[in-house]
Subunit: 337 residues, 4 copies
C-alpha cells in the first residue's frame, strides 16, 4: 500500500513514520512539508536517520497520484487539513486525518469551538470518527477517517462502559486530565520553553478546551442521549503521556468488583484496552505503545475512573495505524505490537 | 529563641534549617536524628555546608532543656512524633509538630485512618491546627501546634471562601491533586526510584489517602457543618509543588467576577495567599516560597478552583515558620519573604 | 528458537522481552527470577501486560532443558551470572550474558576491579566480547557471548577508527560520559531517589568505574597495543541515554573532513552506527533504538568525538539481540528496526 | 541605595529582583523593558506577585537619574548593553553589566568571538572583571563591573589554584561542562522546546563557545602567562545548574590530599567557594544558592576537578549581588545567605 504523509515536520508525523517504516503492508512514498528548499525527512527528524531517505516535497495531489499513492495520513494543523484533503478524496485516495477538522459532525459546533466556518461540508458528512473500539465497522468501510484527539480517547473509553448502560448521571461528569508537553505540538512557545514548564504543573483552557465537544459527541453516541462534561486539561513536565481521572455519579449503587467486570466485558475484544486487574495505571506503562490502560474504583459512592495512554501513539499515530489496519482489512494489531 | 529540630534527616528538616538559619529570631542549637555515630548536619544535607556546623544528636528532652531550648520543630514520622513531643511539652517547650499526629481532633478518626491508637490524648486535646489563615489567633496562644498537611492546605484554602458562605454543596466536592515526588519523603522506594516515576503520571491512595479527614475537619470548622470530599492524589515527575483542581457544585448561581472578588476579600489580610487576577496558577510560580496561589472559575455552572503551592515550603516548613512567627508574636512574614 | 531469560526483574530483562516478543525467530519460554511465590512477568513489568503471560520461575538448568531451551540471555547481577551460566553451557545452551562476568579476559583484572575472584575460568577463556562491529565473526561462532557494557560501547566505537590507524596518542585519552538514571539499575537507592537526582548533575566513580578496563581491553585489541584512558561517568536527570564526549591527542595533523570520512568508511557496513553528517548527536535521537550516533571534530588541534546511544537498548538489550541475530545466522537488524 | 534593573524580562532579572527585594541596602526603583504598553513586573514574573508592584518602563537615563538611581544592573543581551550603559556611567551611576560586553579586555577578541566591533572602547578600558574571589579589590573600587559568565566561573575557580602555582600544563586543559536549560535564556527556540531537550543530552558550540576567551583571559591573569583551553558545553534536561569536569596535566607529581589542601588554602577566605571534604559536588547542593562547590582528584596521573554551581545565582545574579556588596562596602554575604 503506497502511502503519503501530509505535514511531515511535527511529532505525529515522526511517530507515524516510525511505525509505518516497519509495517509490512505500508510503503511510505511521499512526505509533504511546507519547508523551503530541499529538506530530508531525517533532517527534520534525526531519529529516523538510516531508516528513511525521503526528501520532503510540497503538497500536490496529482503528483501523489502519479506516485501511486492510495492512502494518506494528514498530520496538518486544523484548518489546513480541510484545505488539502478534498483534493485527495476526489482522486480516490483514502485518508486518515489526524487534525480535528472532520471530528465534529455538526459544522456549527466546529465553528463555535474552532472559531471559523468549516470549508468542506460535503466530506464532513461522510467522515467516520476514528475510535476503533466504538466505530470499528464504519472505520473499515470509510474513505475518510477523522482520527480522534488524544484527551478524548482516555475520556471516551474511560466512560463508555458507564454511559452505555445508563449507569451514571449524564450531566455531572468531570474529566481531570494531565498531559505531557508533546501534546502541545512542536512549535516553540513560552509556555513550552523548558525552563518555564519543567518542574511545574498548571491547568489551561479551563472550560474552553476544544476536545470538550468531541468527548460529548462520542459519549452521546454511546449513551443515545446528550452527555455534558467538565473537562480540565493540565500540563505536566514529561514528554509524553496522558492520564485522565474521571468522576461520575452512579444512578444506582454499584459494587467495585462488578464495575471492573463490566469494564473487562466491555473491552473483552479490544486488544489495545487493558483493564488493570491489580495495581493502578501509570502513563509510563503505556509509553511507546498503543495500549490504553484503565481501571475504575468506587469512592464514597462515586465512580472514579483512571485512564492512561501515550498521547503520541495511542493518542494519535498509533491509533491512526490501528484505523489503517482496519481500513485495509488486516489484523488491527499489525505494526503496533 | 533557642530552637531544636527533631528528626533532622528528611526534606522538611532541611527546608526548615534553610529558613531558620537566616531567621533573625531563631537560633537552632540542636538537631536530633537516629543516625548512628557522629553525623554532621551538612553531611545529611550537603546544601547546608558552610551555613550549619551542628552535629546530630539523639533525642533527649533533658539535654535539650540543658541547652536552653525553648522551641522545637518535630520533623519525625507520624507515630514517632507523639512518642517524643510530650516530654518537651511537660518541660515547657513550645512545639510545632510537622507530622500528622496532632492534626485530627478525634482520636477515633486518627485510629481509623492511621491504623493505630493515639498514644497522647491529653496533649491531642490541647493541640491547635496550624493553618494560620484560619486558626491564626489560637496558633498565637498555643503551646502545641499541629502543622497542616501539604495537600490539605491547597484544598482547605481553596474551598474556605466557598464553604464559609454556604455557597456550595457540602457533599459533592472533588479534589484532584497533583504532587511532586518530594512529598513522598526521603526514604528510597521503588515508586520513587527515578526511572520508575520520571516521565510518568499516576494516581495513588484512591479513596484512602490520610489527608482526607484532615481536609474534612478543617472545612467542617469553616462551614459549621459536616463536609465530605473525594480526594485523589497523583504523583507527577517534578521535585516539588502541589497543584489542586477542586470541583464544587454551587447552591445558587454565581458570576465569575463576584467569585474572584469573594476570594480576594476573604484573603485580603493573608499575605501568603495570592488570588491571581490575570493568568492561572502554576506550581513553578510558588517554588521556594511560602505563597499559595489561587484562582476560581465558573464552568458550565460548576465552580473550578485552582490552587498551587510549594509542598515543602508552604506545604510544610514555610508554614511552620509562619506559625512560629505568630507564636512568638512577630510579623508572620519574617524569614519568609 | 526457544529462549530463557535469567533474572527477569530488572530493566534489561524488560527491554529484552519487549524486543523478543516481536522477534520472528524468538520464542521466550521461560523467565527466571528469585521473586518469592508466584509472580507474573507482567506484574513485574506492567508495560508488558497483554503481551506476555509467563509466570516467573526459579532458575533450574534441567527444567529449562526440559522446556526445550536452546538459548539464554542472562540479566543477572555480576557474580550471580558466573554461578548460573556454566550449568547451561555444559548442557549445550548458547548464552548471552548481559553482566560483566565474562567481559574481561584476564581474571586478575576482574579480581582487581570487581573485588572478587572469577569462579569460572574455563568458560571465561571461551567467552567472546559481544561488540558486533568489532568482534562480529567470533560472535557468530560463539557459545558464550559477553554482552558489552553501556558506557564502553560509546567509548570503544567512538575511538576505534582513531586507534585502529594509530592516529592518536594511546596514553592521553579522556572519556567524559553522561548517563541517564536507568543505568544504575532498578534497585532503589538514595542516589537514585527522584528528589535526590532530579534537577542535578553529578560525577561518580572518579577513576574507579569498572567499565575502565573493559574500554581499555577492547581498544587495546583494536590498536594492537596497550591503551590507557581516563573515564569519568556522570549522572544526568533523564531515564535513558548515554552521551560520551571523548578527547584525544592526534599524532599528526588531521583535517575535519578527512576525519569524518575516516569514520564513515570505518562504519560503512555497520547498520547501527550512524556517523552524523549534519548536526550533532543527541541522546534523544537514539532513544528506543539500537543506533549509536557519532561525530568527530577537530578543536584547537585536539580531536573531540561525540557519541550517543540508548543505554538500555544499544547499551544492553538491543545489542544483545543484535548478537543473537549474528549467533543464529540471520540479518543482524531483525527485530531491531 | 536606589537601584535600576535594565532589561527586566529574562531570568537573570527575575533572580536579581528575588534577591534584591530582600536585600537591606537595596531599593529597586525602576525596571526597564522593551515590552510594549504597560506591563507590571509581576506579569512578566508571576513568582514575584505580592512582592513587587513596579511597572516596566522604557530605558531613559535622565528619567532614572530623576528617580535618584545610583546603581544599575544591566540584564540586557550583549550588544544592547554597550549601547545603554555609557549614558548611565557618564551620569555617575555605578553599573554591573550581566552581559558579555565588557568582559573581554581586548576589543579584537570581542570582535572575533562576538562577530561585531565593540562600540564603547572608552568604558571597556575601565571595566573590571567581576569575579570577586580573584578581582575583589578592583571590584570594590570600580564604577563598571563586567559580571562573569556562568560557565567561566566554574572553570576559572576550578583551575585557579592549579594555574596560580604553575602546577599544571597551560596548553592541555580540557573543560567539559554540563548546563541546565535556563542558561539558554528565556526566548523560546526549538532546541529549548521541552519535548526536544527533555530526556536528552547533547553538546553544542564545539570549539566555538564564546565563554572560551573569557576563561582564558582570567586564567591568563592568574597564571601570568597565556592559557589555552578546550571547552565543550552540553545541554542537560534540568532547569538550572552547571557542572564542570576539568582535566589538567600536572607538571609534577601531586598527592590528592595535598591537592585538596591547596584548594582549601586558596579559598580559605572565600565564603561562597566550598571545597568538599567528603562526597562529590552535585549541582543540586548549590541550587538557589551563591555557593560554588569544588573538589579535585588525581586519576592516573591527571588532575580531575569537579565544580558545581547554580547558573542563575552564582553564575549570574547572585555573584552580581556579591559584587554589589563589595562595591558599596558591605559584607559580601549580605542578601545571599
Amino acid at each position: 500500500m503506497k502511502i503519503a504523509i501530509l505535514g511531515g515536520s511535527g511529532y505525529t508525523a515522526r511517530e507515524l513514520l516510525n511505525i509505518l517504516l516497519r509495517h509490512p503492508y505500508a510503503e511510505v512514498v511521499s512526505v509533504t512539508s511546507r519547508q523551503d528548499g530541499t529538506v530530508r525527512v531525517d533532517e527534520l527528524h534525526p531519529s529516523l536517520a538510516g531508516r528513511c531517505d525521503l526528501i520532503c516535497e510540497p503538497f500536490d495531489a496529482d503528483r501523489l497520484i502519479g506516485k501511486g499513492v492510495e492512502f494518506a495520513f494528514a498530520c496538518l494543523p486544523h484548518g489546513a487539513s480541510m484545505q488539502a484533503i478534498p483534493a485527495l478524496l476526489t482522486r480516490g485516495v483514502r485518508v486518515i486525518d489526524l487534525s480535528a477538522d472532520y471530528r465534529l459532525r455538526d459544522p456549527n459546533v466546529y465553528a463555535t469551538w474552532y472559531g471559523e466556518s468549516h470549508s468542506d461540508l460535503a466530506y464532513l458528512a461522510q467522515a467516520v470518527y476514528g475510535l476503533p473500539e466504538l466505530y470499528g465497522e464504519e472505520i473499515a468501510a470509510a474513505q475518510l477517517v477523522a482520527n480522534p484527539g488524544c484527551y478524548p480517547q482516555t475520556a471516551i473509553l474511560g466512560l463508555a462502559p458507564l454511559v452505555a448502560g445508563g449507569l451514571v448521571e449524564r450531566d455531572s461528569i468531570i474529566i481531570d486530565s494531565k498531559s505531557g508537553v508533546s501534546g502541545a505540538g512542536r512549535t516553540p512557545k513560552l509556555g513550552t520553553h523548558f525552563p518555564e514548564c519543567n518542574e511545574s504543573v498548571s491547568a489551561y483552557g479551563i472550560g474552553t478546551h476544544r476536545h470538550t465537544p468531541e468527548i460529548e459527541q462520542a459519549l452521546g453516541d454511546v449513551a443515545g442521549a446528550p452527555v455534558s462534561v467538565i473537562f480540565t486539561p493540565h500540563l505536566v513536565p514529561m514528554d509524553r503521556g496522558i492520564f485522565s481521572t474521571v468522576y461520575a455519579v452512579p444512578r444506582r449503587q454499584i459494587d467495585e468488583l462488578k464495575l471492573l467486570e463490566l469494564y473487562r466485558d466491555y473491552y473483552a475484544r479490544a486488544p489495545f484496552v487493558r483493564v488493570r486487574k491489580t495495581g493502578l495505571p501509570a502513563t509510563k506503562d503505556t509509553t511507546g505503545t498503543n495500549f490504553l490502560d484503565l481501571t475504575a474504583r468506587v469512592v464514597r459512592g462515586r465512580i472514579v475512573v483512571l485512564a492512561a495512554e501515550d498521547n503520541l501513539i495511542r493518542g494519535a499515530s498509533g491509533v491512526a495505524v490501528q484505523n489503517f489496519n482496519r481500513m485495509i482489512g488486516v489484523d488491527e494489531r499489525i505494526g503496533l505490537l
